[in-house]
């Protein structure tokens, strides 16, 4: 059992490694490990409390979607354990897992690839309901239309096909489908990325409302830090398969401790040309390292303005700095006083 039993979701030291080269059947027989692996998730421990929203942010390719998919067991972790209300998902067989599916749903990142082009919108939304509930005919039709209204889709569109919608409209279809069977937990992977701002506000308000009214627990994956700040109770920042900082959302924006979080927050575009012209950004130099051969020690050291010798050799653990504000950096003191980053800010 996880030590924190009150968590709806508990993730314990989870790793997801994808083999890059096929090992071959003989190699597999001999138990030979594949030569190279992508360490998409490389040791993550995390809790989500019931009814709360955890925002997950980080560089593209850092493993956010993989973590979301691992929690839902859409990809099986290489190591570690995942609990849903105390039930170990990582220990369930396929049939048991299928029963859990209606309680945990996903809104996908790519509204183009995730909708079947040959099904009407109505059928797409009805599909999960038909799998899990006896609802049919007129009652089913009414539920579908209600869901469409919930996500600000015109119910008159019910017989249309996905290609007849623009990207934002398609993402709303995906959200309606995820909500269709009344899940307790949803992983929303970039759910508002394809939406224009007026609808983003509606969907963010919708997610807040769902959380209030249904007690829906959410993992909200997004690159939009403004939205994450607004929607999340807590925010987790990920870098190359590891968490570098976790804190309450107002705290992390007011007082980011990790150099990477600081760079992230400083890169958020501000809808004010005067601010945009004058603001100083922490510009991260260097490439995003490959998760195949992640840097030794602190994975951020190749881009970190504070990096020192020790950072190249040792891996900083994620520690609680007080009040549930966790960060993984050796030089928290110096970073919070801001010396090096300010000097190198553009």
């Amino acid at each position: 059992m996880p030590e924190n039993v009150s968590s709806l979701i508990a993730v314990r030291d989870v790793k997801v490694h994808f083999p890059l080269d096929s090992v071959g059947s003989l190699g597999r027989l001999l138990g030979r490990p594949p030569a190279r692996v992508v360490k998409a998730i490389d040791g993550v421990t995390l809790d989500i409390q019931p009814g709360k929203t955890l925002g997950l942010v980080g560089e593209s390719g850092c493993g956010k979607s993989t973590l979301g998919r691992a929690i839902l067991q859409l990809v099986r972790p290489t190591a570690g354990r995942i609990f849903f209300k105390g039930t170990e998902l990582t220990g369930l067989n396929a049939r048991q897992l299928q029963q859990m599916r209606r309680r945990m749903q996903m809104v996908f990142q790519d509204p183009y690839a995730s909708l079947n082009p040959r099904m009407t919108v109505g059928d797409i939304i009805a599909e999960p309901i038909e799998i899990f509930e006896p609802l049919r005919g007129e009652a089913l039709r009414r539920r579908v239309q209600e869901l469409m209204r919930t996500v600000s889709l015109n119910p008159a569109f019910v017989k249309r096909y996905p290609h007849e919608f623009s990207g934002g409209q398609r993402q709303r279809i995906g959200i309606a489908r995820a909500l269709a069977v009344g899940p307790e937990f949803i992983v929303a992977d970039e759910p508002i990325a394809a939406l224009d701002v007026s609808i983003q506000a509606q969907i963010l308000n919708l997610l807040s409302q769902l959380r209030r009214e249904l007690g829906l627990t959410t993992l909200f994956i997004s690159h939009d830090l403004r939205a994450v700040r607004h929607i999340s109770d807590r925010v987790a920042v990920m870098y190359l398969g590891k968490l570098v900082e976790v804190a309450d959302s107002h705290e992390i924006y007011r007082r980011p401790l990790h150099p990477y979080t600081q760079a992230l927050i400083s890169a958020v575009p501000v809808p004010d040309p005067a601010v945009e012209k004058t603001r100083r950004r922490i510009v991260l130099t260097g490439d995003v390292p490959s998760p195949i051969n992640p840097p030794t020690g602190c994975r951020f050291h190749t881009r970190c303005p504070y990096a020192q010798e020790r950072c190249r050799a040792e891996e900083p653990p994620l520690v609680d700095t007080g009040g549930g504000h966790q960060a993984a950096c050796f030089l928290l003191e110096e970073v919070s006083s801001g010396g090096a980053a300010r000097d190198s800010a553009a």
Binding site: L153, G168, P269, P273, D287, V288
Partner: protein
């Protein structure tokens, strides 16, 4: 100001669906000077992508059709060119980065092949040189381990990496006009900042004009010289960037600006523009924004005129007409 590089005049593009005609782009006009950046923002489905696809002559026909107007590029009407002439312009003089990288990457071809194809076709490079250039381009857009990952297939890349591959493809022929349709939508901010820097850099280095389509008013604030706001197939407001943010004139623009989460302010609920996005097959007869507009009144059942509300600042709303006549 000389002749603009691109001058779109009264462009009309429709899709003919079972529900009837969808006027995706309805009488859209704008100019773009060489080296300048125009930001186009608006509701999803408002016609931003169809505008750019019309310029590129990539409208799927049927069901779509460019019904009228002109797309003058360097003085030449692209709508009058043969398909062959257009192919010579597309990808070379005008390049486009799409909203959805998977739609323009072939899932069955290695990244290498997709990149070398363009430079072999347009720059006449041989296989080896094309491959060298492809690796350079991937490095330029920040793909780690480019020399090795170039032999991967698109599905082996994360969403953000695919978008960078797309940009590498678009930039490989030094285009005069880059149309970037939501290029950073799926990316996290440090990469967004890098990619916007990349576009700025290309723009300055080569004098490339840019049409930047985005729903992020923060992005246009930092990138665009001018901004056009689209709603239901029409440009409802256009202005120099500073002017648009300082004095938004159209109720839709005002709503957009108010509905953005402010990281410095904690609010339980965001301001939201009420209502549903318009059903493009059943638009109201007058102002298309009327069903969602807090100021809608009687005259709004007639299509509003577009009037000047400031220097090079135009808005299509009856409120503006009234205040103008009062002034």
């Amino acid at each position: 100001m000389g002749t603009p590089l691109l001058s779109v005049r009264n462009l009309q593009t429709s899709f003919f669906t079972r529900e009837g005609e969808v006027r995706s782009v309805d009488d859209v006009s704008f100019d773009l000077e060489a080296g300048q950046t125009l930001g186009i923002v608006g509701e999803s489905g408002s016609g931003k992508s169809v505008t750019s696809l019309s310029i590129m002559r990539l409208i799927p026909t049927p069901p779509g059709r460019i019904k009228g107007g002109q797309v003058l590029f360097g003085g030449q009407d692209l709508l009058k060119l043969s398909d062959r002439q257009m192919r010579a312009i597309r990808g070379k003089r005008i390049a486009m980065i799409f909203q959805d990288p998977m739609s323009s990457l072939n899932p069955f071809l290695r990244i290498a092949r997709q990149l070398t194809e363009i430079s072999e076709l347009h720059l006449g490079l041989d296989r080896r040189a094309a491959r060298r250039r492809a690796i350079e381009m991937l490095e330029l857009v920040g793909i780690p381990d480019a020399a090795r990952r170039i032999d991967d297939y698109p599905h082996q890349f994360s969403g953000g990496m695919r978008q960078r591959v797309m940009i590498a493809m678009a930039l490989s022929c030094d285009p005069q006009l880059l149309i970037a349709d939501e290029p950073t939508t799926a990316l996290d901010v440090t990469i967004q900042a890098q990619i916007l820097e990349l576009i700025k850099d290309l723009r300055e280095r080569l004098g490339t004009a840019v049409i930047l389509i985005t729903h992020d008013l923060g992005v246009v604030a930092g990138m665009a010289d001018r901004v056009a706001v689209m709603y239901a197939g029409k440009i409802v407001e256009s202005a120099p960037t500073d002017s648009l943010f300082a004095r938004p004139a159209h109720p839709y623009t005002q709503g957009l600006l108010r509905s953005m989460p402010d990281p410095l302010q904690e609010v339980a609920e965001l301001y939201q523009i009420p209502g549903l996005p318009p059903d493009m097959t059943r638009l109201p007869p007058g102002c298309a924004f009327a069903p969602r507009c807090p100021h809608a009144a009687e005259p709004c059942s007639q299509p509003p005129e577009t009037v000047a509300v400031g220097a090079a600042h135009r808005s299509a709303c009856w409120l503006n007409v009234r205040s103008e006549t009062r002034a």
